[in-house]
Symmetry: C2
DNA sequence: ATGAAGTACTACGACAGACATAGTATGACA
DNA sequence: TGTCATACTATGTCTGTCGTAGTACTTCAT
C-alpha cells in the first residue's frame, strides 16, 4: 500500500491553475482546515520528481505582469499529469476499500 | 502522509487470535476479496519491526497439539500493539478526511 | 518411491519518498 | 536598519517496500 498522496494533492491544486511552492503549501493547509501541512522539502522534491516524470512543467514568472516582485518557479499540470491524477484517484478509491476492511472506528 | 497500512492490516487480524505469516497473507487476500495481496518480504519484515517495537510477540508452535506438522512462528498482539492499532485507526480517519479533499471521483 | 505443488520461512540488496538540517536570497514593512 | 515573510536549494539519513534468491519441510498424485 504505497499511498503517496502528496502528488495527488499537488496535482489537484494545479488542475485549477498554475501555482508555485509557497502558495501550494498554503492552499494545502487551508483546504484541509489546518489538518495537514506539507513539509517544504517534501513539496519541492515532489516538484522535481513530477517534472522529471512529465506530470508538470515549470516556468519562471514575476509576481505581476510588469515583472515586479519576486521571481517564482510556477508549475503547470500537463496532459500526462492529468492522466496520472485520474489514476491516483482511482488508486485511492481502491486503497480506501481495502484499508477500510481492517479499520475499527 | 506516511500511511503504512500494512501494520494496521496485520494487527487487525491478530486482534482476533494469534496467527502466522502464511495464514495472515491468505486472510488479507480473502478479506479484501483478492483486491490486495501482501508481498512475503513485506509481511515478514513487518513482523520483525513490530516485534522489535513491542506490538507483537512471537512463539513457535506445531500445526496440532500433538506436535505434528510443520513448526511455525506465530505472532500474538500485545497491549502496546492494541494501542498502536487504535492510534493507526484514528490516523487513518484523519488521513482519509485530508486526502478526500483532493480527490475527484 | 518420486516429483511437483504448497507451505513456511530467511537473507540480501536496491530504491524511492519523506524529512531533518541548514543555508541563501529577495521583498515588505515598521 | 532590521525583522519577518517569502521562495527556494543542497545534502544526507532513514524507513518501508519489494525484487531476487535460496532453504526446507509436507502433502499428494502417480
Amino acid at each position: 500500500m504505497a499511498t503517496t498522496t502528496h502528488d495527488t494533492m499537488i496535482l489537484s491544486i494545479l488542475l485549477k491553475e498554475p501555482s508555485y511552492g509557497y502558495e501550494i503549501s498554503k492552499e494545502i493547509k487551508t483546504i484541509t482546515d489546518g489538518k495537514y501541512v506539507i513539509k517544504e522539502t517534501t513539496l519541492y522534491s515532489a516538484f522535481t520528481r513530477m517534472e522529471k516524470n512529465g506530470y508538470i512543467e515549470s516556468f519562471v514568472a514575476s509576481q505581476d505582469l510588469e515583472g515586479n516582485g519576486k521571481k517564482r518557479t510556477y508549475y503547470r499540470i500537463t496532459d500526462a499529469g492529468r492522466d496520472f491524477y485520474k489514476d491516483k484517484c482511482a488508486e485511492w478509491e481502491l486503497t480506501k476499500d481495502v484499508v477500510e476492511k481492517f479499520i475499527t472506528k
